[in-house]
């Protein structure tokens, strides 16, 4: 098992629900209640000082749990990468924001909220970023049609 996953599990066994290693990458599935603590611990104790990317994904309307949020961590010191994954159900797509840990998460979370519809609790400025503020629906959901419901008008 990946050393960071091992250390994390030793720190608090509740923080790690699953560890998967494939194609040279490690994915740690984290319960959504613990994500901020896990991120803060990885940042201060394990040198993951940069959040390279944060993105949401929709597995499809028939899947349960339906949404996942992926956190791609990078260290500017030892240059390793780690993926954290939080799985969310359709009825309750809420997860705590990590923008208090890394400021860069702010826009990534706004983008994920805008396109996938995951709601980040305690986010300082959670509003749409790419689509207009009066846009209806979340465009990257699988049940959102490619061409939209009707032509969008700016007027």
């Amino acid at each position: 098992m990946n050393e960071f996953a091992k250390e994390l599990k030793a720190e608090n066994a509740d923080w790690v629900s699953e560890v998967k290693e494939a194609l040279g990458e490690t994915t740690i599935t984290v319960p959504r209640e613990a994500i901020v603590e896990v991120c803060a611990s990885l940042k201060t104790n394990h040198g993951f000082d940069m959040l390279a990317d944060l993105c949401g994904a929709d597995r499809g309307p028939e899947e349960d749990p339906r949404f996942e949020v992926n956190y791609h961590l990078f260290s500017t010191k030892h240059h390793s990468r780690l993926r954290l994954k939080v799985i969310l159900s359709e009825d309750d797509p809420h997860v705590n924001t990590v923008s208090g840990v890394w400021k860069t998460a702010n826009w990534h979370e706004r983008e994920t909220y805008d396109l996938v519809g995951v709601i980040f609790d305690n986010h300082p400025d959670l509003r749409r970023i790419l689509l207009p503020s009066d846009f209806d629906g979340h465009a990257l959901r699988k049940d959102y049609p490619l061409r939209g419901y009707e032509p969008y008008s700016l007027t």
């Binding site: 494939a22 194609l23 040279g24 990458e25 994915t27 000082d49 940069m50 959040l51 390279a52 990317d53 993105c55 994904a57 929709d58 597995r59 992926n70 791609h72 990078f74 500017t76 240059h79 990468r81 993926r83 890394w102 400021k103 860069t104 702010n106 826009w107 990534h108 983008e111 396109l115 509003r127 749409r128 970023i129 790419l130 689509l131 207009p132 503020s133 465009a139 990257l140 699988k142 959102y144 490619l146």
Partner: protein, 404 residues
């Protein structure tokens, strides 16, 4: 179009004696490099608050990937960061190759490095030209675009496209380099250092330029990491990270070059990093040219890589594979990868998730411009309006990639 910005403006109108004003800069402002809009709260000419507003160029590329086969997605990536299309191609195809676990032959790897470094020089030329134009140096723009034109012509001769080459394919390259390509590159390299000398004389040594860029747009190294800055913006703040060296791909670890780091944390430092990177790219291109040996340019995976035309006419199985790849696509084993490369603007990451079919389930691009732009308020608050233009230029953003 954030609603709270509009409310702020209304509040301002209610208080006519208020000394602060709100200025909406863009989206048609030429110095915002596309369709970026900035909500600037000004006190005289000082910036109190800057709020970037993006999304004017949103084209739903990430949605489109889910409806296209893997090989059709390459064409979409060209339109993302249109100043560095080969870098986008590389990130995308390498993510798919990682899922497919393909081995790429040596010659294809060398050509990828060669083309990407040429593209990096071309991208930096556009940056230098427009950056100077923003600050008021007109003539540099034309010299830069002259150099870029030579590179675009070479890319066109290899791939057929100037801004949208789609030259890299999953498993290798579209086709081999044309005859005489190496000589053209060598000729370009021989003259490029003279051009760089011209730029150094016109810009680097220019006292007006130094006065406009030094101690402007400061962001410390810790802040830069916290805001996720990558590429020249991060190295301009004294953080020594270059993915070509730290997470090597396509054999970058075997080339001899320096990672350019500057410690001034301002526009001038970012300028110097990019200028020095042009020399380093020049060195890498020369080494790649010396390594070019004849050999295959496509991986040995007949179910993924399109066969040669000649092969197709002679062998039945090649014809069948060709038909199947074009008509139905190829299945990619289920899994997820995140692959990051050092593009000309920073870390270009691709998150790709496959469910086993011929189309990806999710493709997400981590565009360096998107993340770098987020730090603009930190850099510009407390500066003058004219300096915001210099700071945007030093971030080297491309709105096509920010909005996707």
């Amino acid at each position: 179009m954030g609603l709270e910005n509009i409310t702020e403006e209304v509040e301002f109108l209610d208080q006519p004696l208020e000394s602060q004003m709100t200025l909406s800069m863009g989206p048609q402002h030429p110095s915002t490099h596309g369709v970026l809009r900035l909500d600037l709260r000004l006190d005289g000419e000082l910036i109190v608050k800057a709020v970037p507003d993006i999304g004017y160029l949103h084209t739903g590329m990430e949605k489109l990937f889910e409806y296209k086969k893997y090989q059709q997605g390459i064409v979409i990536t060209d339109r993302m960061d249109y100043l560095n299309p080969l870098g986008n191609n590389l990130a995308y195809v390498m993510a798919a190759e990682k899922l497919l676990e393909l081995e790429i032959p040596e010659r294809a790897q060398v050509i990828r490095v060669l083309m990407c470094e040429l593209q990096r020089i071309a991208s930096h030329m556009v940056w230098l030209g427009t950056h100077c134009l923003d600050i008021g140096a007109m003539s540099v723009f034309f010299f830069c675009f002259k150099e870029r034109e030579k590179i675009l012509n070479m890319i066109e001769s290899a791939s057929g496209g100037r801004l949208t080459p789609s030259y890299f394919r999953i498993g290798g390259l579209m086709m081999d380099l044309p005859a005489g390509f190496e000589n053209r590159v060598r000729q370009f390299l021989d003259n490029f250092l003279d051009a760089m000398n011209t730029f150094e004389t016109l810009v680097t040594g220019n006292t007006i330029w130094q006065a406009r860029t030094k101690e402007i747009g400061i962001i410390s190294g810790e802040d830069a990491i916290d805001y996720g800055l990558t590429g020249p913006c991060l190295r301009g703040s004294g953080v020594d990270v270059d993915l070509r060296r730290d997470n090597p791909y396509t054999g970058y670890e075997t080339y001899d070059y320096d990672v350019c780091v500057e410690h001034d944390c301002d526009v001038w430092a970012r300028f110097k990093v990019r200028m020095r990177e042009c020399y380093e790219s020049h060195k890498i291109v020369r080494q790649a040219l010396d390594r070019l040996k004849p050999g295959p340019i496509k991986a040995d995976a007949p179910k993924v890589v399109l066969p040669d035309r000649d092969d197709m006419r002679k062998h039945m199985d090649s014809l069948i594979h060709h038909f199947l790849i074009v008509a139905e696509g190829f299945n990619v084993p289920p899994g997820e990868v995140y692959h990051a490369i050092e593009a000309s603007k920073g870390e270009l990451g691709v998150y790709m998730k496959s469910n086993g079919g011929p189309k990806p389930e999710r493709v997400h691009f981590r565009g360096p411009s998107f993340v770098n732009l987020q730090a603009l308020p930190v850099m510009s608050e407390g500066e003058m309006v004219a300096d915001v233009v210099a700071i945007i230029g030093s971030l080297d953003i491309v709105l096509g990639e920010i909005d996707r």
